[in-house]
């Protein structure tokens, strides 16, 4: 088991490097002179005239004339040591700003994740057990409908209903303890359709297997069959999907945090895009991808601990 985990960690590390490289390349393709951007953000105002000498100075300062690969290499070396560059806009180290925002995104994301899980997994199990029944049809219909709602629009509708018309909840910021409710609900709704569907189809498939008939022939009661034999076989699919959904939550957080002015990584990324703060963009993208990679790593480890075929890889005979 340990060997498996270690192999996965090494693989994840390389993926992270590749992701940061890809991100760096993509960002470097931005039109417009980076030196000019830095100048206008950091040193002078947007309306001031740009002198060539200043551009030169900035270029040298930030090493912008060397080939892309070397620039990336410099970033990578720095990044591995903890220096992710300095934000053009805020003039503080990138990592410190990111670190201060992570807890907010984590908090919101985890609440939404667990809430969605608690709602949709039991629904999916029940729907599978009573396939083609009323509950099954209704829940499928409802979840497909929920899955068709744009999350940013849902956020606005929730604001209209709960903040403007009913005046129950605050809209933005983190002032009161109630602030997490609307953004949490918005993120949660995004997760429910897929979670429900995967649970339902996985459970249906498992219940049709021969070993469930064997379990029944032993004299186990239906609850025993489900808890002892079915759930353990459903778990790998559901957990894998949960990992992928975390990716969606991380992506969705950009929009949700921006609308509700929730000070997390998502909002930080959005702000940095608008202000063309490239070091911050790179830092945010790598951080969010790291979160996703960690989630997939946990998924791999958990499914391997449940399913021996993954970690042992084949028969001994």
């Amino acid at each position: 088991m340990l060997k498996f985990a270690v192999k996965r960690v090494v693989a994840c590390f390389f993926v992270l490097i590749a992701v940061s490289f890809l991100s760096f390349i993509v960002l470097s393709l931005a039109p417009g002179d980076t030196a000019v951007t830095i100048l206008t953000h950091t040193f002078i105002g947007f309306d001031d005239i740009i002198h060539d000498a200043d551009v030169q100075t900035v270029s040298q300062l930030y090493n912008l004339d060397s080939p892309l690969i070397l620039q990336y290499w410099a970033w990578l070396k720095g990044a591995l040591l903890g220096n992710w560059g300095t934000s053009y806009v805020h003039n503080v180290p990138v990592w410190s700003l990111i670190l201060s925002k992570i807890p907010y995104t984590l908090f919101l994301g985890l609440i939404a994740f667990f809430a969605a899980f608690i709602i949709s997994v039991p629904m999916g199990l029940y729907a599978a057990a009573h396939r083609n029944g009323a509950f099954d049809h209704i829940s499928r219909f409802v979840t497909i409908f929920f899955g068709s709602i744009p999350n940013f629009w849902l956020a606005l509708v929730l604001i209209i209903v709960f903040c403007i018309k009913l005046n129950w909840l605050p809209v933005t910021g983190i002032g009161s303890p109630l602030n997490f409710i609307l953004p949490g609900i918005t993120l949660m709704v995004g997760m429910i359709p897929t979670t429900f569907r995967i649970t339902r189809s996985s459970m249906s498939e498992v219940m049709g297997q021969d070993y469930i008939a064997t379990a029944k022939s032993k004299g186990l009661t239906p609850p025993q069959i489900v808890s002892k034999h079915a759930l353990v076989n459903v778990a790998p699919s559901v957990i894998t999907m949960a990992g992928l959904e975390i990716g969606h939550i991380l992506g969705g957080s950009v929009i949700v945090e921006t609308i509700f002015v929730w000070p997390g990584i998502g909002k930080l990324l959005y702000d940095s895009i608008i202000s063309k703060d490239y070091p911050m963009m790179q830092g945010c993208i790598v951080t969010i991808s790291l979160g996703y990679i960690i989630a997939m790593f946990l998924v791999d480890v958990i499914t391997a601990s449940i399913d021996p075929r993954i970690r042992l890889g084949g028969s001994r005979n």
Binding site: V26, S148, V157
Partner: protein, 254 residues
């Protein structure tokens, strides 16, 4: 698509400040927005854009993805490894983030939006196509085809492709809905279509400031998006149920 324009009696881009923010009524079933434009007409024209963009993204993305997937699956070895590593890396980016990165650098506009969404999507199809190709490759009739002496291209075109096309169609149909939503999200953030395009995400963004006095500006395009995506999702589910109920599990895993 052809029905739309005939329902519109107003020019979706005509600005008439004298008629701004009128509540829904007989003449303007969805009211007017802050520039006096008919919201219903803009929603209908927005449908063209949103659905059009989604179709282009799905078709182009599927084309690229399937090609890569079949090549990787058929060639095997080093080619397969390299291509699949690339696919894995692409999939390690949460989709929205990568689209944002691409748009952050390319700049705004509908064309760039299409590029960003396609770049994010193709990897899903590639992974599926490769998996299916491998399954087909393992079946006996492929070995028989090779034994007869078919050229590689022929095998791909005549044997592999027809067997995986069904699944690809289901997955592609199921992804139209999510792509419409992703496109609207990017426009909402101001990174896709630009003013004065009647793209839904953009309209919702525009209506944000008028939530209190004219909520219909935000509500109408949103409802349209929900219903359109809902329709496509149902269509995808229906096709999926017809072809093979097990496919959807794979689709959802993406």
């Amino acid at each position: 698509m052809t029905v739309g324009p005939s329902l519109c009696t107003h020019d979706p881009n005509a600005v008439k400040y004298s008629e701004k923010c009128i509540s829904p009524c007989a003449e303007y079933p969805f009211g007017t927005d802050f520039s006096g434009r008919c919201v219903l007409c803009r929603v209908i024209y927005g449908a063209h854009i949103s659905i059009g963009v989604a179709l282009v993204v799905v078709v182009v993305g599927a084309f690229i993805g399937v090609t890569v997937g079949i090549v990787a699956g058929y060639a095997g070895g080093a080619v397969d490894s390299i291509l699949m590593r690339l696919v894995e890396i692409m999939l390690s980016f949460p989709g929205t983030i990568f689209a944002l990165a691409v748009l952050g650098t390319l700049g705004n506009g509908t064309i760039n939006q299409i590029i960003a969404l396609t770049v994010v999507r193709w990897a899903h199809y590639a992974r599926l196509a490769r998996g299916e190709t491998l399954t087909v490759m393992n079946s006996d009739y492929i070995q028989a085809a090779q034994a007869i002496g078919n050229s590689r291209l022929r095998i791909i075109v005549s044997y592999i492709f027809p067997n995986i096309i069904g699944q690809i169609i289901v997955i592609a149909t199921l992804s139209i809905g999510p792509v419409i939503l992703a496109g609207a999200a990017l426009s909402y953030l101001g990174l896709g279509a630009q003013i004065p395009s009647p793209e839904w995400g953009l309209m919702i963004n525009g209506g944000k400031e008028y939530i209190r006095q004219a909520p219909w500006i935000t509500l109408a395009p949103g409802m349209a998006a929900v219903l359109t995506v809902f329709a496509f999702n149902l269509l995808g589910e229906g096709i999926g149920d017809m072809i093979d109920p097990r496919l959807k599990e794979k689709a959802e895993a993406d």
